[in-house]
Every structure is written in structure tokens, then in C-alpha cells.
Amino acid sequence: MSLAPDTAVPRWLLVPASAALALVAVPLIGLMVRVPWAQIPRLLATPAAQDALWLSLRTCAASTVLSLTLGLPLAVVLSRLTGHWAVMVRTISVLPMVLPPVVAGLVLLITLGRRGVLGQYLSVWGVDIGFTTAAVVIAQTFVSMPYLVITVEGALRSTDRALEVVAATLGARPTTVLRRVTLPLVGPAILGGTTVAFARALGEFGATLTFAGSLQGTTRTLPLQIYLQRETDTNQALALSVVLIALASVLMVAPTLVTRRSR
């Protein structure tokens, strides 16, 4: 391990920093020690685990696309708002981050459920969201999009507005400024925010369970499968957790490598 030479970090800072790392790393090491490694291949070969894995990847891909297409515009608009409006919109946008997942699921259920505030009208048209894969995607997007919004908005607020002003005075239309100046400036933040949103969706559990239910191949994602596995065998649940952690780690590291290469 080495620190970059131009960063003068006070030595004492290493003590709490190490403690922080240990807080997260020690339980992970504990997991690595306890996990029945030999069981992992056999577990992964079961239809239940494979269905859960594919469902998780599919739904997380869908919810990340949804987070990006809806969350990115929200972040841009939010970064331009000032005063009370900014506070209000930001509070609403990030509220799912502080909601307990079960509450998020309940909120979705009483809104989009069959007898929900909106759901009852959708139901009349034959659209039933509950217990479908779509419900999983909605739950994942609900809890993960705020991470993308807050990351990108923060980056946008700290960019130099002068560049955009110059582009506009040179005759660029707002859409061109957005596409050619604003978004490229916060490219790394968009990538980072998307990654965090994906990772959050991958780990989503409570809202999915409450709103979408749990059925193999339809709504039972990897975290739900782990939860169910634990009912019969904690070791098998741990083995499956390793798969989830490995997947999440790869997904978190990949964008870092991409940005490093482009620099």
C-alpha cells in the first residue's frame, strides 16, 4: 500500500482510518473463514440459485437503466434549482435513502398495489404490478435512484458554470451545452453514481420482499434467496452471500478501472 507522494496526510489520521477499514473488513474476513467453500459450486448449480442470480442481474440492469434515464435529468434540474425549491425537491429525491426498506416496500404497496391509491385504477385496466418482475424493478429503482441523483447533483454543483456560459454565448443551444459541456464535465460522477445505484439495487431486499413478494424465477432475487436459504441452513446462505459479494465487488471495481484508463 502506498500513498500518493503529493498528498500530505497527517500521520495520526491513519489510526481512525485503519479502524474504519477494520470495521468493514473484519466481518468480511469472518465470512471468508466461516464459508463452506466446497459447497459453493454445488449450490450455484441448483436451479433456485441460478434463477435468483439471473433474475438479480436482469432486474438490476433494468432498474439501473431506469435510474439513469430518469435520475440524470432530475439531477441536472435539481442542480439548477435554488432556495426553497431546491431544498424541497432534494429532500423528496433522497428520501428513499433514509426510509427503512420495509417502509419503502409498504409505501409502494399502498400506492401501486391492487388496492393502492394509483394501483386500483391500473387494476381496472388489467395492469397488476404486485408479484411481478416489474414490481422488483420498481422497488429497486425506488431505493437506488437517489444515490445516482445525489452523486451527479453534487458534482454538477461543484463544476465551473463559466464553461457553460461561454458555450452559450458562442451560440450553443441549451441541449448542445448539456450534451457537449455539462455532462462530459461530470462524466466520472455519472459513472460512479450509476455504479452505486446498481450495487444498491443488487443488494435490495426489504422493499422487494414487501412489494413484489418472493417466487422463484419471478421475484426471488439473490438477496431474497439468501434470506430463504438461511431458514434451513445458515452455511448455505453464507456461501450464496459470497457469490453476491463477489459480483458486487467486480461491478464496483470495473468503472474505476475504466476511468483510470481514460485519464
Binding site: 399502498i110 388496492r115 404486485g130 420482499l209 413478494g213 421475484t219 430463504l228 438461511r230 431458514e231
Partner: protein, 264 residues
Amino acid sequence: MPAPPVHPIRRPPSVQRLLGLLATLALTAPVALTGCSSQRSSATLVVFAAASLTQAFPRIAQGFEKDHPGVTVKFSFDGSSSLVDQLAGGADADVFASADQVTMHRAVDQKLVASAPRVFATNVLVLITPPDNPGHITGLNTSLAGKRLVVCAPQVPCGDATLKLARLDGVTLKPVSQTTNVTDVVGAVTTGEADAGIVYTTDATAAGSQVRTIAIPHSDQVVNRYPIATVAGSSHAAEAQSFVAYVTSASGRAVLSSYGFGIP
């Protein structure tokens, strides 16, 4: 309403002061915590109990505490499997009441309990629908075809019982969701998300007018048994034994049956 007290403007605490405060807290907190527990002269009994006992057990504890002055009963309600995991992880408990025998066996196998488990209550399955029965469900039969049925997953006790009962009645269930605990099944039905659910009779009793209950044929042949035992290494072994005795006594049984449990 009295006016709120006016606070003088406070300067933000400096980093040093914050660090100092944290250090003081870190040093004194363990002392304060141990001080708390050593001052208590009477015994506090910690009972780990299956989630389905959430309503009945506190009522039983009221009677027990009256009979045993100085003893306070505290509960931790969770799924039986979670409780076994917590016990295996070294959780400090005195009594363990499981919702099924398989889970209690897991605790016995891991030497987590001190006494031989005693069955103190039974439960059977019923079919529930929302009060207006929108799916026009008539029972565990073809009226369920194409309807939104929610049951427990086969991996958990209520799901295992559901599967056995369906086989006994020659019915193949096609649920839209298989939940990990029975509470979620009740929730799906009371919110109207599901047309029907299969739950324990005690859950139906607790849900009251929020559900319509339909009996299932042969349900008396798939009976769920609740065992109770004292926990190994309990520091209140005598009190733990009296609690187990109280649960299985006439007073305990009366409370249990008032919540819909069967008595063995």
C-alpha cells in the same frame, strides 16, 4: 403553552473538544453499562420466542410476573430460525420457544438448550381471503385456479405444513408468492394484494375482521407443534424453568387457547 427557553448562541465545538468528548464517552460507557446491570437486584428473564407468539406470550408473562415477584420477563420475537442463529452466535437468553420441532431440533443438535423441549401449543392451517372475498374462493379447491394465492415457502415451517396439507387434499397449489414468514402472507391478504393465503389459525384469529377464514379439510392431520426449552448457560436457570412450567400450566394454556392455539 410556555415560551421555549432561549439558548445563548453557542459556538461550534472545536475538533479537540469533540475528540475529548468522544474519548470520555469511550472510557466511561463500559463502566456505565456494567453499572446498570450490577445494580439490578431482581432477575430479568430473556425469552426468545417465535414471532407467532408475539401477542400470547406477553400476556402469559403478566401472570408469571405476578406469581414471581422480582422477576421481569423480556422478549425477543423473531422467526424461529433467526432465533437459533442468534443463540448460536452467543445471544444472552434464558428460554427459547420455537414455532416448530425441526427448528428446536437444530437448537438441540447445537447443544443450545439445557432442558428437554416440551410441546406447549399446537397450530393448524386455515385459508384466508379479504373480507369481501374478491376472488370468490370457496376452499382449498379449483376455485383457487388463476387466483392470486400467497403461501409460505416450503423451507419454513408454515410452508412445509402447507405443502403436506395440499398433498393430503390432492390439490396442486400455484402461488404467486412464497414468503419466508406467515406475517407476510397475512399482509398480502389484508392489503388485498392477494385473493387468498394459507396461514395458521392463530394468525387468522389475530387478523380478526380483516380476513375471512375458511377451514381446510384434513388440517387436523398436519399439526404444527410449538416446543419450549431453557437455554444452555442461562444465568437464571431456576427462573427459566419456572417460566417453562408456567407456560405449560393451566394458566398458560388458558391464555394460549384464547389466542387460537391448540393445546397438546
